[in-house]
Symmetry: C2
Subunit: 117 residues, 2 copies
């Protein structure tokens, strides 16, 4: 068993740790934010006022959630006049999820094939 093999396994595992972005997961761990995601998927781009009207929380609270979701790469925003419009950050969001899934898959297969029996 060469050092290369061990190095390789460690590197794969460390890439997994990098991929599992804690901010990203924390953002999706809050039910209110998932509801916001659902709303935007069903209704498309909307400003904060409109989104907040469809949530039980106050507009200021919704604003904070939207900002967090944007920082996590789940949403994008554009300011127009005095309105701030948010929308789902479609492709990058999907790609991030796929990337995480693939990295964990790879780590499973190459680092601990035993645990998948």
């Amino acid at each position: 068993m060469g050092t290369e093999k061990t190095q390789s396994r460690t590197q794969i595992a460390e890439k997994l740790v990098e991929a599992v972005d804690s901010k990203f997961f924390k953002t999706l761990s809050e039910p209110v934010r998932v509801q916001i995601l659902k709303y935007l998927m069903l209704n498309g781009r909307a400003d904060i006022q409109t989104i907040a009207e469809n949530m039980p929380q106050d507009r200021s609270v919704v604003s904070r959630h939207l900002n967090l979701m944007q920082e996590a790469g789940i949403l994008v925003c554009q300011k127009e006049n005095r309105h701030m419009f948010y929308d789902v950050n479609g492709q990058p969001f999907i790609e991030k999820l796929v990337d995480i899934t693939e990295k964990i898959k790879k780590c499973m297969n190459e680092c601990c094939p035993d645990c998948c029996k």
Copy 2:
């Protein structure tokens, strides 16, 4: 535009909300727990004592984290004598991630194709 189509979109979005299990995401949003996951992937099945020796936290804290990870379906545990062994819940863990990714993909494509341009 029939009611069926709207219903269908709503149903797809609701399945997405169900899939984005907040407990699962919250569990993976804690860096310590990702480190535990990494350790188990690289070193395989281990008891709490051994895992805790490789983490900065106290054994009681590690025990709590391991319990949460098991409840979230990420790990499995088996009691042997006075030792509690934990291991990665390989296939189900992967399947859960793939399921979430696929549901979000589907929702993107069928609910808001515009947001993926």
